[in-house]
Symmetry: C3
Subunit: 234 residues, 3 copies
């Protein structure tokens, strides 16, 4: 029933919240539930689109490939969301107002940044959804540079670079493949692998139906445990 | 004059801001001033209620006790605020929309989480005050589980798990005992030990009176030092 | 054309965003582009003023100089912004409502804190711009104390104290000298050294003119790369 994933940029996934989709992915034994942690809504607007991936590297990294095919924003595709993996150490931004304007001109639907943005007011004025770790006054140059696009990117939690908090392997990094579905709202960002789209939709529908029954009974004072047992079976 | 702490869920502490109460606790030589750091208002609403404590552990921790007495939300008491201590490493949430609905049904007044919440929009729609470290799209399972309720919980600062920033022992962890008073507003969260309630109220009243005189004189241009000397005596 | 920097508290720098000024500083080979990272707008209002610097130390640091000349807020000058360097480890605030009132009485224009503030609602009610790392319920005493004012302060990134994230030397600390220009808006905080003011204004004007041409062409769908090549020459 779903049309070819090669041509489609909309999905019934858009009916669900990021939390409902993580729940479905957990049921499918995806260990991280698709959750890309520590990313916040900076310029309002929900996103549900296939990923156009961009890998940024430190400019000091001369070994990493050089970007080909033109500016990374010009290579964004209509109906896609830009997903940027930036070095955790960077205090500079990898996205600004001109980038949002260029992305809108290409028909992109938003940007999700494992890194910083700047020009917050411009994104909001343009009505372009931006999700990022934090903000900066610095632009990309001379700190970072785009290296590759349309490749798998593996996004680390924010504080895991140097043996600190998240490093015990408790939370696995999330790999985003080009064309994976990205859903972002105020609770955060979820990556739904292409090949799981239909199963996730089906499970999210079931999950929502069950949660609605639970919510009704819980609001009616029947208790969380009793409501879960009745409708979730445990 | 105050009625028995065993039956009472309101306190004159509610007349004061979290900052005024920390000031009073510092005057009483409580080393951390009751301050539970790094927790932010996520769903609006101030809280001043006795604590119903909940200890979450990593699911991988099979040694920790198993929860008894039913779902932890069903065990919340009318007029109490739920205080959750969750493992610092968890990138998942320990509180969502169904939990807020269950807590409201029980008459709880809010939730303070040393950890993450999800379903932010639902808490706001329900008008239920939520304070947390951050947000996530992931639910509790399979990452964490409730272990014990109504026990003392000792809450660490956010970044102290692995020898980083807060670890030099500069900021002591705060122990919240069941029935301690929890006051939360946009400046943060304060725990007032039960046995200090009356002294804290008295000192906070005096502190406010002095601060009001200082504010009047400072606004009138009399200088901070002169105003402090006149009204605070130093 | 510019009047003496010794008497002037306004600058044409105020016409530009923090991002435009960082861009100009990067063009002048200032390695950090003036960016003071990890500081957020807490009480609204943009700032563009010369810096009145304040160094806070841990109270346990008995070696550091003792403040002379009166309360640090009383020493603030009309038209200046208070810039506070506080110990990274402190979970307490170094600025509260009485400080904002005192700063307003002195004619100060705002405060930028490498540290925490408290009394958030009071700053907003007073209409006093506050930028800080985070918030707390605790006041300064007994955790920190002012040590020196009107001296150069070197501000570290937030997480660099203990060998974590920023420690690889990737992002240099920013030294703020008294009378350096501080520009703060929702994208963050930038320090423009006094001696670079005119060059920065000139470069920011040129940069803005170029960016406006780029924005026009990018919005018209001419592509980011082509627009940059045409107007930026690369």
């Amino acid at each position: 029933m779903l049309s070819s994933p090669l041509s489609r940029t909309t999905s019934a996934l858009s009916q669900f919240s990021s939390c409902e989709l993580s729940d479905a992915l957990i049921k499918l034994s995806v260990p991280h539930g698709g959750h890309i942690p520590d990313i916040h809504s900076v310029s309002p607007g929900n996103v549900c689109s296939p990923a156009y991936t961009v890998k940024m590297v430190l400019t000091s990294d001369t070994e990493a490939p050089k970007l080909t095919g033109g500016h990374f924003v010009d290579q964004a595709k209509e109906g896609y969301v830009v997903v940027i993996d930036a070095p955790l150490e960077a205090k500079s931004a990898v996205w600004g107002g001109l980038m949002s304007a260029g992305a809108i001109a290409r028909g992109a639907t938003g940007v999700v940044i494992s890194g910083n943005c700047r020009d917050i007011g411009e994104h909001r004025d343009l009505g372009f959804p931006v999700y990022s770790r934090s903000h900066s006054t610095l632009g990309q140059s001379p700190f970072t540079r785009p290296s590759e696009v349309n490749i798998p990117v593996t996004i680390q939690p924010q504080y895991s670079a140097s043996g600190s908090l998240d490093s015990a392997g408790l939370f696995p990094a999330v790999t985003v493949n080009p064309r994976d579905w990205i859903v972002a709202d105020q609770d955060g960002v979820v990556c739904v692998p292409q090949e799981l789209e239909e199963q996730v939709i089906e499970l999210a529908q079931k999950g929502r139906a069950v949660d609605e029954l639970c919510m009704r009974d819980i609001k009616a004072g029947k208790g969380v445990q009793a409501s879960f047992k009745l409708h979730r079976g445990k």
